[in-house]
């Protein structure tokens, strides 16, 4: 009798032990992602570039999100919103039950606090976010200039309702709300904004995202674990480690060893990409490129003031050949600063044909004739100039430009300096002559984002057109999608006519991935990173 009574208990114990063994045997699913840059800070309210591009939708959430190819804003922390007919008022209903990583509940006060930090006068590091996204909020400018105690246009109606009033209609506003992570007011409000950047809570932040901060060894790795209380459910991954591996050869070896699963902001050489396509240890992925390689001239320089000279330059480059030889044929040749994925008109702007003869004719019309050494000259002045560039692919492209320009009689002299010198000092009207430079477009899912850089007041190229300024402002103010599309089409036609910059190529973003990693299908690697909640690792 005793033996029989003992049997069910033993069986139950065996079942429990087997179950424990099985769960212990299941390895943690931790994806390792390399980035080809370093992070300075993890606070989305004090540092925009690397943090917001990578960490939003990982550590943090915005009111909306963009994580698929439709480029339509989806509810995230806001479960719904209404927009007034004039586009000046938004009312966001926040999702209930959302908690921060420390367990505190999200309320509209946290959203108001977070956005006010960006508008704050002591937050100079967020100047581009302020200009691009937040200055349109009523009262933000006054608050930043110290003329108001708070941002008048941000009103907490109740714990889960936020009313936002704008000074003018701003079509990309919902992009802004996707890009800014929300932080808990209770934890951050006691920190003076000028000290926020260096505060420990900016290095070990608290957000609402699908992953929670665990540890950050600067220059080595950022370790995060799955947030079991995430409002969309627990992520499939148990953890995510971001490693800062700057050298592409090192990343390639790590991929082949199976110790790296994806890389973001991390270019792969076309040769390595081609080789990876037949290597079972890695998966080669080509995404739509977000970088345009440009030949930029200073419009205030007498050499380049005449539009016929700029048109001649546009005909000097064999773009298809450059794309083939330098970038393995991966990418596109377009003639617009706006990504075709965001504005169909971009693909319709004609690309100047490679026509050195036409280029020489245009130069002759502008008064330039070949000198005894073959270099164009006019009134005793040779057409020679410095072609500024920085090391890497940009310099490689500059060498190609130099070669192409020689064929039409222009003498470009390479001047290689480091990026900080170019961006901080030289890329200003009057400080350079010509420049080989990559410009991003397509990071953010709205054609109006980032165009503030081409207004006369901010122009680095010296190009200034009242018509262009008016179209940029009109484009971001128009709420009707069809009207916006027409406005951006006109803007791109104007830029093509004026030859604001000479577009060369937009190489595809070549990436490697582990065959174990299950990635959502997205057109850009930026959108893939925004979808990390959906990632999975096969055994």
């Amino acid at each position: 009798m005793k033996g029989k009574a003992r049997m069910p208990g033993v069986l139950a114990l065996v079942v429990v032990l087997l179950a424990c063994g099985a769960s212990a045997a299941r390895a943690e699913k931790v994806a390792v992602v390399a980035v080809g840059t370093t992070f300075l800070n993890l606070n989305p309210l004090t540092h925009i570039v690397s943090t917001m591009r990578v960490m939003n939708n990982i550590l943090f959430d915005g009111l909306t999100r963009f994580d698929d190819a439709s480029y339509q804003p989806k509810p995230d922390l806001a479960e719904s919103w209404t927009v007034s007919k004039d586009g000046l008022e938004y009312v966001f209903k926040l999702r209930r039950g959302v908690v921060f990583h420390d367990g505190s509940a999200l309320t509209a006060h946290d959203v108001k606090f977070s956005w006010e930090v960006i508008c704050h006068r002591d937050n100079a590091r967020m100047a581009d976010a302020y200009i691009d996204h937040y200055v349109q909020i009523k009262g933000c400018r006054e608050f930043r200039e110290g003329r108001a105690e708070g941002v008048e246009g941000l009103e907490v109606v109740d714990d889960h309702t936020l009313r936002v009033r704008l000074v003018e209609p701003y079509a990309p506003f919902l992009v802004s709300t996707a890009l800014t992570g929300i932080l808990p007011r209770a934890k951050y409000q006691t920190i003076p904004v000028k000290d926020l950047f260096r505060h420990p809570l900016s290095r070990g932040p608290i957000g609402t995202g699908p992953f929670m901060y665990v540890d950050w060894k600067e220059g080595d790795r950022l370790v995060m674990k799955a947030n079991p209380r995430y409002h969309r459910g627990r992520p499939k991954l148990d953890g995510l480690i971001i490693r800062f591996i700057l050298d592409p050869a090192t990343r390639l070896v790590e991929f082949k060893n199976g110790t790296l699963h994806f890389a973001f902001f991390a270019p792969v050489a076309p040769d390595d990409f081609a080789a990876a396509q037949s290597d079972p240890r890695v998966v080669a992925k080509a995404y739509a490129g977000v970088w345009n390689y440009l030949f930029v001239v200073d419009h205030t320089n007498p050499l380049f003031k005449d539009v016929r000279v700029r048109q001649a330059l546009a005909h000097a480059f064999d773009r298809q050949s450059i794309l083939r030889e330098k970038w393995g044929g991966q990418g596109a040749v377009i003639n617009s600063l706006i990504n075709p994925g965001l504005s169909p008109a971009a693909a319709r702007i004609p690309v100047p044909a490679y026509d050195p003869e036409r280029a020489r004719t245009l130069l002759r019309e502008a008064g330039w004739t070949p000198g005894p050494d073959g270099v164009m000259q006019r009134e005793g002045q040779r057409f020679e100039f410095a072609l500024l560039n920085f090391p890497g692919a940009v310099k490689d492209m500059a060498v190609l430009y130099q070669d192409a320009l020689k064929k039409i009689g222009l003498a470009a002299r390479l001047e290689t300096v480091d990026f900080p010198t170019i961006w901080g000092v030289r890329f200003r009207p009057g400080k350079f002559e010509a420049l080989s430079f990559p410009w991003p477009s397509g990071f953010y899912p709205d054609p109006g984002v980032g165009l503030y850089a081409f207004l006369c007041a901010n122009s680095r190229t010296g190009y200034c057109s009242k018509e262009s300024d008016a179209l940029i402002v009109a484009g971001r103010s128009a709420l009707d999608p069809a009207e916006r599309a027409r406005t951006y089409a006109k803007l791109q036609e104007l830029w093509a006519r004026d030859v604001t910059v000479i577009h060369i190529v937009s190489p595809g973003d070549l990436r490697l991935a582990s065959p174990r990693l299950v990635l959502p299908d997205r057109p850009t690697d930026f959108l893939v990173m925004k979808s990390v909640f959906e990632w999975d690792l096969k055994e």
Binding site: A124, D220, V223, D247, P420
Partner: protein, 305 residues
């Protein structure tokens, strides 16, 4: 102290003379009003005359209040956080180079112009000629990529959220090897030269004449005198080795001081650059003192005054 201050002054001048504005790398300055820009510069300690900025920088460094322009973190904290990686690399590289280089130099000296000596000479020349970054990539490809005996980069496994010192050992093998091989040839050659000179001295002939074993003659008598030159060359190679860590740590993705130097230089992070320069100068000065002390240990005829 005066030497350190002088070095600090020179490096401050060089860094400030270099083109590039750190503020422009942190924010698009065209978007800030003059008042905003002035306030931001003041927050970063970039206002006032250059002598005033230098004095402020030295004062903040001495009191531990100096912050990185790039990350906002206390510079001393950042340096101390990164020091163990570089310290471990340098220490093990020097040890390995001495363990391999000194015996190789002794062997060469004992059989000058033999086939062994010629092979070691060629190997030394090859080691001096090959760029360390190339060598690093080759070793990584062979041992991590093809053979998969060692990890390719980093300082610890990514399969664990926490790991101990023993877990880190495999990650230091390749970088240590590359660094050691960069100073091994000069150590070997200097040992060889010093040994050849020592072995030609009369006291060596006397020692042999007295019937001492060859081992005793070479290692107890000749090598001890030859080591003075070896110690001197190690002291001279240390700054070169420190510079090499910038390349090695970047290739192997290790968060050490060498990589920090690159990051700071690229972003014009003046406080970090200055502190690193001070620290490097201090290390070189201390190393010179240690070299002098080692002379006393090796040669009882030398006295400290």
């Amino acid at each position: 102290m005066p030497v350190l201050l002088g070095i600090g002054l020179v490096s401050f001048a060089i860094v400030r003379l270099a083109p590039g504005d750190p503020v422009a790398l942190l924010v698009d300055t065209s978007l800030l009003s003059p008042a905003e820009l002035a306030r931001f510069r003041e927050q970063l300690g970039l206002t006032g005359s250059l002598p005033a900025q230098f004095a402020r920088l030295v004062g903040e460094l001495a009191t531990g209040r100096l912050h990185s322009l790039r990350t906002g973190q206390p510079v001393l904290e950042v340096l101390l956080d990164r020091l163990p990686v570089t310290g471990a690399l340098l220490g093990s590289a020097i040890a390995l180079a001495l363990i391999l280089g000194v015996p190789a130099g002794v062997l060469s000296a004992r059989r000058p112009y033999s086939r062994l000596d010629n092979c070691l000479t060629v190997a030394a020349l090859g080691g001096l000629s090959l760029p360390s970054f190339w060598f690093a990539l080759v070793l990584m490809w062979v041992f991590a990529g093809l053979l998969r005996w060692l990890p390719a980069s980093g300082t610890g496994p990514t399969t664990k959220l926490e790991y101990g010192a023993l877990d880190m050992v495999p990650y230091f093998v390749l970088p240590t090897l590359v660094l050691a091989l960069s100073i091994l040839p000069p150590i070997m050659r200097y040992t060889r030269s010093a040994m050849l000179e020592a072995l030609g001295q009369e006291y060596v002939r006397t020692a042999r004449g007295k019937g001492l074993s060859e081992w005793r003659v070479v290692y107890r008598h000749a090598l001890r005198n030859a080591l003075l030159s070896v110690v001197t060359v190690v002291g001279m190679l240390l700054p070169i080795l420190v510079g090499a860590t910038a390349v090695i740590e970047s290739v192997f993705a290790m968060p050490g001081l060498g990589r920090l130097v690159v990051e700071a230089a690229v972003s014009r992070d003046y406080p970090t650059i200055m502190t690193l320069n001070f620290m490097t100068a201090a290390v070189v000065l201390v190393t010179n003192v240690l070299v002098d002390l080692t002379y006393v240990l090796l040669d009882p005829r030398i006295r400290l005054e």
